[in-house]
Every structure is written in C-alpha cells, then in structure tokens.
C-alpha cells in the first residue's frame, strides 16, 4: 500500500514538474508567434533533464546495491569522468576544426558521441579488472584511479581551452552541467540508451537484491557474481554516458534519490529502480526550472543547483539514518 501511494505521488510530482517546466521561463506563451517555439525549446530541455535525472538516479541505485554502500554514486566507476573527458575532447575537436569532428556525424552529435566513447573506454578498463574473483575494493580503487586520471586530463583540457573564450565557456558550462544547449537529435540518440539501460538494470533486480548479502552469500545462493557485476557496471556506464551527453556533469542525483526512496519503497531493486527513474527525472526537471527562473544575469548551471539542494538533503538523510541506528 505504502509503495503504491509512493508511486502515485512520484507520478504526480513528475507530471507537475514537467507541466511547470513547460509553462515557466523566459518569454510569454501568450504570444501566439512564440508559443510553439518556446514550447519546443522547453520540451527539449524537459526531455533532457528527464533522461539525465532518470539515468543518474537509476545508476546510483544500482552501484549502491553492487557495492553495498549507500554513499556511492555512478561516478565511483570512473566511467562518469571518462564520459566527461570524452565530451570535452569532442568539444575541443569541434571548436578547433579537427577533421575528426566532421568525419561522419553532424556537429551536434559530436559531443554525445565523445561522451559515449569516453565512457566506453573507461568501461573497458574497469571490466578488465572485473573478473569472477575480483573484490569490490579492487573495483572501487580502479574507479578512483580512473576518475583521478580523467579529472587531471579534464583540467589539462580546461587549461588548454583558456586560449579561446568560446571554448573556455563551453568547457566550463559542460563541466558544471546543464540542459540548455541540447538538441532534439541528441535527445533521440540518448533516449534509447537510457530506456534500455533502465530496463536492463531492472531485469537484474533479483541479482542486485542477492548481492546485498555480500558476494560469498550471493554466490552460494546461485548468483554468478562476476557476470552480475559486469552487467551492472556496463549498464551504469551506459546510463552515465547518456546522462552526461544530454545534461553535462550533474552531481548528487545518483546519491540522494535512491537514499530518499529506500525508506518509502524498500530496498528491493524491482521496486526501487522504477521509483528512482521517476523521482530522478522529476528532480532534475524541477532543478532546471529553478536554474531558468533564478534571478541572475545568466542561467545558473544545473550542477550548482543539484549541489546546493543535494548536499543538505544528503546530510539530512545521513543524520536520520544515524538516529535510526543509535535508537536501534
């Protein structure tokens, strides 16, 4: 009953956030000459925020299950930093007029493709360490080292980009996250990745549930632990890449959304994953509305909004769970 009510509330929140995002923003919908253009632009933003939020929140629920650690987010695998680096390199190639950027794809698809290639390469490195008897600590350390390496390279690219004002602005904007510059074609490219990724994770819910008992117990109960981990790592990387391709580097969504929902829908992934997709989407759409309407000279980066909201929410959830532990 509690779960059903939660799902209804999540659906209402999602519909409300989408309606608000379509109605609110610069420009008046009362003007019939602007209405369809404004609605089209806003719908693209809503779609991007929905996809990125759903992907990051689902990825968060899955990695928290695999690592049995509620403090991890999809970025722990290093594939997020890989996707981000890939996106930055793609932008660099595009702005510098590299022939690589115009080989077979249009300019607007270079960034998402860069993110996918970056995530794919980092995923290949992670998977090469993800064998049957590899401990989760090795995976976490591999992800940490990859993240550190890719962040260092990203900083290097940012320093290179300072030579060009446009490039510098684009890189910083991408790093801070935002759905303002997403095109419908980018959305169409990212949507199947997010959809398939969420369904793929949901189909392995039972494996993820059993991994909550630890690898030895899960294995003794019939889980092919190595295969389950590789499956989860692969789809989390796909989700992170798709999210970054349409939303840039947005933090905290994958951390706080699963945390918020576990007390409401329980720890079973079959219920948790769809709820995360709904709330993650609604949360990021709402954050994008705030980014658009916040009175400032330029639009606030989405990553800044999620950070400002996410950090205190996370601390609150942490304090609540600590209280529950201390009160038994």
């Amino acid at each position: 009953m509690k779960t059903a009510v939660t799902y209804v509330v999540l659906l209402v929140l999602l519909v409300g956030a989408v309606a608000l995002a379509l109605l609110v923003g610069h420009g008046s919908l009362a003007d019939p000459t602007l209405r369809s253009t404004l609605l089209g632009l806003r719908a693209t933003r809503v779609g991007a925020a929905l996809l990125a939020g759903a992907a990051l929140a689902t990825g968060g629920a899955v990695v928290q299950g695999v690592f049995r650690d509620p403090l991890v987010s999809p970025s722990i695998l290093g594939t997020t930093a890989g996707a981000s680096l890939g996106g930055q390199l793609a932008m660099l190639a595009l702005v510098s007029g590299s022939p690589l950027a115009s080989l077979a794809v249009s300019a607007e698809m270079v960034l998402p493709l860069g993110c996918l290639v970056g995530a794919g390469l980092s995923l290949a490195i992670v998977l090469s360490f993800c064998r049957e008897r590899t401990g989760t600590l090795t995976l976490i350390l591999t992800g940490f080292i990859l993240s550190s390496l890719f962040l260092a390279l990203s900083s290097f690219i940012t320093s290179l980009a300072q030579d060009s004002w446009d490039m510098s602005r684009a890189v910083v904007s991408f790093t801070l996250g935002g759905v303002g510059g997403v095109s419908p074609r980018q959305l169409v490219a990212a949507a199947p990745l997010v959809g398939i990724g969420i369904v793929a994770c949901w189909l392995w819910s039972d494996n993820l549930d059993l991994l909550l008992s630890g690898e030895d117990e899960a294995s003794s109960l019939g889980v092919e632990v190595g295969r389950a981990r590789r499956w989860a790592v692969t789809w989390v990387a796909v989700l992170a890449a798709a999210a970054i391709a349409v939303g840039g580097n947005v933090g905290f969504v994958g951390l706080i959304v699963p945390h918020t929902l576990r007390p409401l829908v329980g720890v079973r992934h079959r219920r948790l994953i769809p709820a995360c997709a709904l709330l993650g989407g609604a949360f990021l759409v709402a954050c994008d509305v705030i980014a658009r309407v916040f009175p400032s000279r330029s639009e606030l980066p989405l990553g800044v909004i999620t950070g400002i909201i996410g950090a205190p929410v996370f601390l609150f959830l942490l304090a609540r769970s600590q209280r529950e532990v201390s009160h038994g």
Partner: protein, 260 residues
C-alpha cells in the same frame, strides 16, 4: 565413489599464495546425518565449508551427489548445497520473508521468473525454523539469534540436500543454541546431510552422527562422533584432557519433562 555419497572429497587442497589452507583432505559423507566439523581456531573448518560451497578454488577431486563439482554451474550447485556463513553481510531493511525467498533464486527459470513451488518452499522453511512470526519484520531489526534462524530458513528454502553451517551456535544463548541443534538433527532425520562447524565439543557429541577433526589444514580424525570426540584425538589436537562425565549438561525439554 562410495555408494550414496553426497560429498566425496579426494586429496582436496586449498592454497592461498604459498600458504596451504587445506592439505589433501579426503572423506566421503552420505545423506541423513549430522556431521560435525571440529578443530581449533585456524584448523581450516571455515575454509573447508567455503570450498564445498564453491566459494574457494581448490585442487584435488570433489564430487557432489556423484557429479564433479567443477561441472556444476552456480544454480545447480546452489540447489544441491546450501551454505550459512558464521557472519552474514546482510544488514538491510528487508522483510525476513524476502530474505528467506532469496533461497529460491537458483530455482528461477532463464527469464528469472519464480517457480510455482516457491511459496510453499518458503513457508515450509519458515515453519521448520519457527520464523513465520518474523516474516514481516525487517531483517536488520532482528536479534542475532533471530537472524541466524532466518538465514537457516533461507538455506532450507533452497531445498538443497547438503546443508553447510559455519559455527551456527556461536554467540547464541543456551536456549537458542540447543533449539538450533535440535532443528539440525530433525533436518538430518528428514534425509539431509548437515555439516556443521562447531567449537563446543559437548554440542558436537550430543548432536552429531559423525565428526571430522581438523588441525593445521589436515584431517586428523574422521568417523563416528563418539570415536572422534574421545580422549586421544582431543588431547592430540586441542592439548586438553577430556573429563569423562560432565558435572551438568543441558537438553531440550521433552513431553516427559512436562508431566508432573
């Protein structure tokens, strides 16, 4: 292979780096008995149970219900051998019944759909362990003893014929410990092979049909419990003298006790 043996190990050896954890252990065990796994700390009891559960690589030969262990896939093995660790890593707000339902994972079809027999198997496992009353309670809110029973129910829900338990009575009070050992005897009488690592020799003597005594990764003695838990092997392995008759002991109450 011995007729009817559920577990047959030949020169079973487990290494970690250059360190030999189990050294050429051979034994054969059939259904319908409780087998105690004895030995001081570090003797290799937990290592042997984990190896039988398929959690550690080994050399030598291991046959489970007549089949080479290496030829069984994870699900086949889980349907044949259930393992209850000494310390479970599970510590989440999952209803106890859902935890027991994890024991049915290996019975799912290729699409991951539950088997028809799942509900009855879960109910039966919870009845055997008297955990139906805990069904809706969160696992992480249960007492240690209650958790042990729920984990035993999870193992029973697999309907495996071999049950491996690593020090199930550790940290249990006398009531829970005796109750659990009583249930293990009951399971053996229903045809299961129950292999249980124990520290308390008196518990082992009261509960087991057979015993394996390990020391330093080697099998020192194997046979009927009354022979293995006797003065000479105990002195040799533990360095203590057995007292022939305990001053007092405990057992589960019977109907006779209730009669005035």
């Amino acid at each position: 292979m011995a007729d009817g043996a559920l577990i047959e190990a030949q020169r079973l050896t487990v290494r970690r780096g250059n360190h030999v954890l189990l050294d050429e252990i051979s034994f054969s065990l059939g259904a319908g008995q409780v087998v105690s796994l004895l030995g001081p700390n570090g003797a290799g009891k937990s290592t042997l149970l984990k190896t039988l559960a398929g959690l550690l690589p080994f050399s030598g030969e291991l046959r489970l219900d007549g089949r080479q262990a290496s030829q069984l896939d994870r699900a086949e093995r889980a349907r044949l051998v259930a393992y209850v660790p000494q310390h479970s890593a599970l510590d989440v707000a999952l209803p106890a019944r859902d935890v027991v339902a994890h024991g049915r994972f290996a019975h799912r079809d290729v699409w991951g759909r539950p088997a028809r027999s799942d509900e009855s198997a879960i109910d039966h496992a919870m009845d055997l362990t008297d955990t139906r009353r805990l069904a809706d309670r969160s696992f992480n809110r249960l007492s240690y003893g209650e958790r042990r029973l729920v984990l035993l129910a999870r193992a029973l829900a697999t309907e495996a014929r071999v049950l491996l338990l690593d020090e199930p009575t550790a940290a249990l009070d006398v009531t829970h410990a005796l109750g659990l050992l009583h249930r293990l005897r009951d399971l053996a009488s229903r045809g299961a092979l129950v292999m249980v690592a124990l520290h308390q020799l008196n518990e082992a003597a009261q509960t087991s049909d057979r015993a394996l005594l390990l020391a330093g990764g080697r099998l020192v003695a194997a046979g009927p419990a009354t022979e293995v838990i006797s003065a000479e092997p105990v002195r040799r392995v533990y360095g203590v003298e057995m007292v022939p008759a305990a001053q007092f002991g405990f057992r589960m109450p019977t109907q006779k006790d209730a009669t005035p």
